[in-house]
Subunit: 418 residues, 3 copies
Amino acid sequence: MDRDSLHARIDALGALLAAAAQPGDCLEANAFEPEPPARLLDGDFLLTWKQREEALRAVLAAAEILEALDRAGVSARLFDSGLGVALFRDKSTRTRYAFRAACDLLGLATEELDESTSQLAHGETVRETAAMIGFLTEAVGIRDDLYLGEGHAYMKEVARALDEAHRAGVLPRRPAVVNLQCDLDHPTQSLADVAHLATLFGGLDGLRGKRLAMTWAHSPSYGKPLSVPQGVVALATRFGMDVVLAHPPGYELAREPLAFARLFAAGSGGSFRVSDSMEEAFAGADVVYPKSWAPMAVMRERTRLARAGERAALAELEHAALAENARHADWECDGAKMALTRGGAAHYLHCLPADVSGVNCDRGEVSREVFESARLGTYREASHKPFVIAAILLLTRFADPAAELAGLVERARPRRGA
Amino acid sequence: MDRDSLHARIDALGALLAAAAQPGDCLEANAFEPEPPARLLDGDFLLTWKQREEALRAVLAAAEILEALDRAGVSARLFDSGLGVALFRDKSTRTRYAFRAACDLLGLATEELDESTSQLAHGETVRETAAMIGFLTEAVGIRDDLYLGEGHAYMKEVARALDEAHRAGVLPRRPAVVNLQCDLDHPTQSLADVAHLATLFGGLDGLRGKRLAMTWAHSPSYGKPLSVPQGVVALATRFGMDVVLAHPPGYELAREPLAFARLFAAGSGGSFRVSDSMEEAFAGADVVYPKSWAPMAVMRERTRLARAGERAALAELEHAALAENARHADWECDGAKMALTRGGAAHYLHCLPADVSGVNCDRGEVSREVFESARLGTYREASHKPFVIAAILLLTRFADPAAELAGLVERARPRRGA
Amino acid sequence: MDRDSLHARIDALGALLAAAAQPGDCLEANAFEPEPPARLLDGDFLLTWKQREEALRAVLAAAEILEALDRAGVSARLFDSGLGVALFRDKSTRTRYAFRAACDLLGLATEELDESTSQLAHGETVRETAAMIGFLTEAVGIRDDLYLGEGHAYMKEVARALDEAHRAGVLPRRPAVVNLQCDLDHPTQSLADVAHLATLFGGLDGLRGKRLAMTWAHSPSYGKPLSVPQGVVALATRFGMDVVLAHPPGYELAREPLAFARLFAAGSGGSFRVSDSMEEAFAGADVVYPKSWAPMAVMRERTRLARAGERAALAELEHAALAENARHADWECDGAKMALTRGGAAHYLHCLPADVSGVNCDRGEVSREVFESARLGTYREASHKPFVIAAILLLTRFADPAAELAGLVERARPRRGA
């Protein structure tokens, strides 16, 4: 991308940001509490469905510009010092790396809080710790996706603590809380997914009218988070896609993102419906996203039992869940099902790692053949995540992100070399 | 703080540093071995009572300037590359973050040595490892507070090893060892405490004649380090405070810091005495610092038993210590005791995390009401620690720290922005 | 080193790099598959014996220049952002620090992949993870030395995965894989060893005709990697040294590096032979390198049993290996054996940590007296490793490393100071 194209894109980003900053109507979805849209500047980035559409388009536009700067060898370093704090309450390779790489791209050092070597815990001390790690911090990235009903609440608690400490003058700046996957949403994943689709369909406008099948798929491990499918259906519907969510009975998702998916589909000219057949969802699809997740009722009960420390009941619950799970081993994305898609050639998405039949499990989410032919595409899908995170940092931390990007283009400092 | 005020403070810092660098008398406290005062430049920072008063005032002055630069958005990056090595032999959230943030503020990357994934151990290999992690290192921050009689000795051993390797030309520069809490002192904590008091009393001179009650308080965990109270009484007495140390019989502190507290009080026009009543200590106090610590005799015995691997005896010792501890549950900082302080409105200090009754324990160091009203104040107290550590790094690593700070002000490079 | 001397050395480096980039003959050693020499630019650094001699001389020359820049206080920062990923599948203090310090010296942040908090594993996912951690990465440093037949294969697998992802356009740049110790070679160690010898003998040419005894030595732990002796004999022979490898029967090394050692000795005018007597190897030696390693057959069997999960057989194997090991406790480098060397004053090398008799074990690789007199020398030996790694990063990541170094000299940016 040449200098003029970069400036044109930066101008477009500026217009999106101006629109996103207008006082906006509340986004109301069914029975959910109406609240004003989240702001970008000095705000947190927790749930895409609380963000205005222009804000999401701005994130995607900024990510694209940052990616172009990297390919052009232009440094995007905007911080001379400052910290990004990472707090992972679940395993992570991709997102941990992406957060680290995003921070480093902008000039922030990363400090990972390890709950085993610190004294972090739920309850009173969350409030305290949030202040203690905020003094020279620009952003706190959190993964907390293990227990339904807890992850998002935890991030809000951290955010409130940072608010309080900032209001009291303890923190000279209010760090942004960035959701690196909670129980409700996985926004850096879904935005990377949409960024990938935009490259496949000639831009975000190309998503309009395209059919996306977000389907459950079988995996030997029954307990995967619900946040990826929830995040995908609530985001894809904003861009006019025809979204079909499919899963066996019992694998329903949380009500909030689905209610927003319906609302967004109505507003964007897209559509959203739920099916109980993988085949029906695949029929005519342009994009398929077959992915295992846990039954919500089981996850709720697991949270309750874990809190109560009832180990025996937990083991029993897990046993029953695995048995139920095994009944749906036919929910595998194989060649026959792919043949049902538009021209037999739908794009395959996955957040990785996938459970591939005959590779890392006996019967998984996807057959070896389908995955192998789609594999490099899933890597491309993942490649956008560091830039999406960097874009979120840029848009939450700077008053005029477009001016900063324009400054980077003019500065044109090489990323490497003496 | 504007440019002129900054330069005025930097000039004052320069004068303090000049005074601190004069050949000084030995600080002799009772029977303790007289030794020349520790030097700042190319020295270590281990015990405040081995530092000259001007050196401590210089650390506080530099911390204040660095904090002002941060609030003004001016970059304090002084290193283009270089490492701060962190070695935590005990859990840490606050100090680990503060060390990391301080290093990053000055441009150093942090490398944390993890004893479980390396081959660090006491004895012969300390000497070797110290050299091995020193080649491109500016500072080694160490927390080693678990065993009485060991932490400070360990830091001295590391320091001697660095000396030897530097003298032999193996290390081109001699990294500073920074005490991030040992068995004797916790200087970055006590200096942050004093920095906080200076903001409350209109500067360091305002501490003169103020009464500080450093008291034991009850906690369900009996084994907390003694270094915080030891460090506080040995430091507050240098600034003319009237310090009362109170604890139940059996909870005596180490002799060395108390001997220095007496010496310093005599020299500064302050006072130092020991009491066995929390109420008496609180009476008329301007500042209270109620905090649990372990009985020294128990800690000594614990070190011995742990070294000898006598597990059964260790468990018995712990059992007896807990029983003794429980007898002093009334040593709680509650509303009634706070009412005894000057105007019923003493400032409450704590190094955090506190054991708050009814919050994270049944009966702790402080009542919920007292802690809640003091809570944000304790956050402010903690907020100085990253800057105190950065100041120590600045003063130990640069020949003319005032000139470096003046250079930062003139350079006026924004910490963020293209 | 002054500016002119630096430029002279940089010119010499440029000449070496030009020679190293010429199309070269395959290095063929006995029955081993001939393959073209590894390239430096955009290549990996896995085995010294697959590198052309000019390439190795270039690494040593660049390391020396970087060391001189550091001593002169000139910043060697070449990256404004970018990551070095560290993946340690075995414990490490020295090399982990050296990799971190090398990355930081050039301006790269380090991210350590922890297999316990991520989902890394052998098999299919190596390929995937390699791509996932490569997006903004310049180098991946790997230690994988525990299982014979696995470490080098793992690094090649990572390298192939990065190749594939780069070819497909997923990775905008192909990160270098740097061997931080595998089952075959430990190139950053052996190059640091040779850099040290060059300082002792007045440059690399001074190694010609010097006699090096690389000998097995007794240690209570029988399972140390074979890569250090293998790497040392295959490297020292390239510089015209007369190398004697000595070990008890049963402690043979892998065939490949020995075959190359013979080939290199023939080409360089040096020599290589194998002995079963420590005394004979020491006789007349200029340099001794007494170091424990495991019996290859035992290590092979251990790999097989570990893969098969046969724990009982593993324990039995270990028992037998320890018994055999104990039979060779006289393979200790003591004063009597040192007296056999040239003038009784051979230089003692060790990669550290050493097993020192009466210090960290009863009967180890070296007597306390010999080690103590050689100790600071071993620290000097180790001091070259961060610069060797930085040199490898420089030579694999930049098209014209000599021009970059010349740019650093001209830029003359102080490493520290406002």
